[in-house]
């Protein structure tokens, strides 16, 4: 397997795993926050929404401090591994998935919830209904988060270290090749990255349009 292919597969593994884990946490969390009323709900949503724009290097710094030898998770020896990069990307993807999903859940009319209840649904079944009604919106959230982490460089560079054959991703490869003056390799990797990012974004736009069309009808 040539270098670009191995970097591509490693990138897809890191980005995909981070997006998957962030989705498994973010979507149910957004659903629960939407469903229940509690003190501090608005503040919690605001915090998540603010973190959608957090600079990746800050996330990198936070994860670095946590995983460094003197950090609280230093004994796990995860720094400069794929796991560290996945952890950093989860923190980047989670606020995005939460905020977009929450926005779609809260747009599902209250009348839909009432109709479910009056047809005999319990709380869990009402939440399942809201989830189904927002399925396209959730897909948009996941694809948007994936689009964000696939092009992210700051955090993975800090906690992954850009080690050849271990933690080198497409974005960090481009940084390295450019700094070495190997522009042909940088451009090749860039084109592959662009195709992946473009594909994901096209999918996100198509899904988003379908969802809005559904809302309008």
């Amino acid at each position: 397997m040539d270098e670009i292919s191995s970097v591509l597969f490693r990138s897809l593994y890191v980005n995909g795993t981070a997006t998957l884990i962030a989705s498994l946490i973010g979507v149910p969390l957004a659903l629960l926050v939407d469903f229940f009323s509690f003190a501090g709900k608005k503040v919690l949503v605001l915090i998540f929404q603010s973190f959608t724009g957090i600079p990746p290097v800050l996330v990198g710094l936070l994860v670095y401090l946590m995983l460094s030898r003197n950090g609280p998770l230093g004994s796990l020896q995860l720094l400069f591994t794929s796991t560290a990069m996945i952890l950093a990307q989860i923190l980047i993807a989670l606020p995005i998935i939460f905020s977009i999903s929450y926005g779609h859940f809260s747009r599902v009319e209250n009348r839909v919830r009432n109709v479910s209840r009056t047809l005999g649904a319990n709380d869990f079944q009402v939440m399942s209904r809201v989830l189904l009604e927002s399925s396209t919106g959730i897909l948009t959230a996941v694809l948007t988060a994936f689009g964000r982490v696939v092009g992210e460089v700051g955090a993975v560079m800090m906690v992954g270290g850009n080690i050849q054959g271990r933690t080198r991703l497409m974005t960090t490869s481009i940084v390295l090749y450019t700094s070495r003056g190997e522009f042909d390799k940088a451009v090749k990797t860039g084109i592959v990255l662009l195709i992946v990012a473009f594909g994901v974004n096209v999918l996100a736009v198509v899904m988003s349009k379908a969802f809005h069309k559904r809302l309008q009808t």
Binding site: E109, R111, V112, N114, V115, R117, T118, L119, G120, A121, N122, Q125, R129, L132, E133, R214, T217
Partner: protein
């Protein structure tokens, strides 16, 4: 009586309050609630559907006093059809089968029930359509069918024909008359003529108060 209520009060805010000193709704036939917009008809209906909880001195359903902890289980036997058809973003067949799937009814029974109710409501031709592909009259019939399919004790209908043309109005009125032999119907409408045509008993409401009870 299916409902026997003493001193029911409900308010959203200081501007509106529902005050029902005494209300008895018989088990048989169709009962109507008529009144102008903002008179509290829909609020009363939501309380009867156990979707809103007011305060009361006594609230009996089927002769049994209602307790706050009973509301969730009562929602499984009393259902409500809103003024604007609310359908889930799936096929009409899925919409109709939803209440039965919630109750874990076997698949073959669900299939039979869906076809039976769709024949009764003349919506067989839209079973595989999506909500945005059918007319307003068909959507309202689907909502009524979805409410009836699990054989609830009471079906509460909020302005069931207010957004429909005359043809669809008469189709739905005929369906309501047909199903009222098996199911108790309570209908809210601002249309006095419709209430007189359809209902065996009706109440008049104004400014959150019950004014009169008329029997046919």
């Amino acid at each position: 009586m299916i409902y026997e209520i003493e001193e029911l009060c409900f308010s959203y805010d200081a501007r509106f309050s529902l005050k029902i000193p005494h209300l008895e709704i018989p088990r048989e036939g169709i009962t109507g609630i008529v009144g102008p917009s903002g008179s509290g008809k829909s609020t009363l209906l939501m309380n009867l559907a156990f979707l809103q909880k007011g305060s009361w001195k006594s609230f009996k359903f089927c002769g049994k006093e209602v307790k706050p902890e009973d509301l969730k289980s009562l929602r499984r036997i009393v259902t409500y059809v809103s003024q604007h058809p609310i359908l889930f973003s799936t096929t009409i067949k899925e919409n109709l089968s939803y209440p039965l799937k919630l109750r874990r009814i076997p698949k073959d029974v669900v299939e039979k029930s869906v076809y039976k109710i769709s024949r009764l409501l003349q919506i067989e031709h839209v079973l595989n359509s999506r909500p945005w592909e059918i007319s307003g009259g068909e959507a309202q019939r689907v909502c009524i069918g979805r409410a009836l399919i699990f054989k609830p004790k009471v079906v509460l209908l909020d302005e069931p024909t207010s957004n429909l043309d005359e043809e669809n109005e008469s189709i739905i009125e005929k369906i309501l008359r047909d199903i009222s032999t098996d199911t108790k119907l309570i209908i809210v409408s601002h249309n006095k003529h419709q209430i007189r045509r359809l209902c065996d008993t009706h109440f008049v409401m104004k400014n959150g108060m019950l004014l009169q009870n008329t029997q046919r």
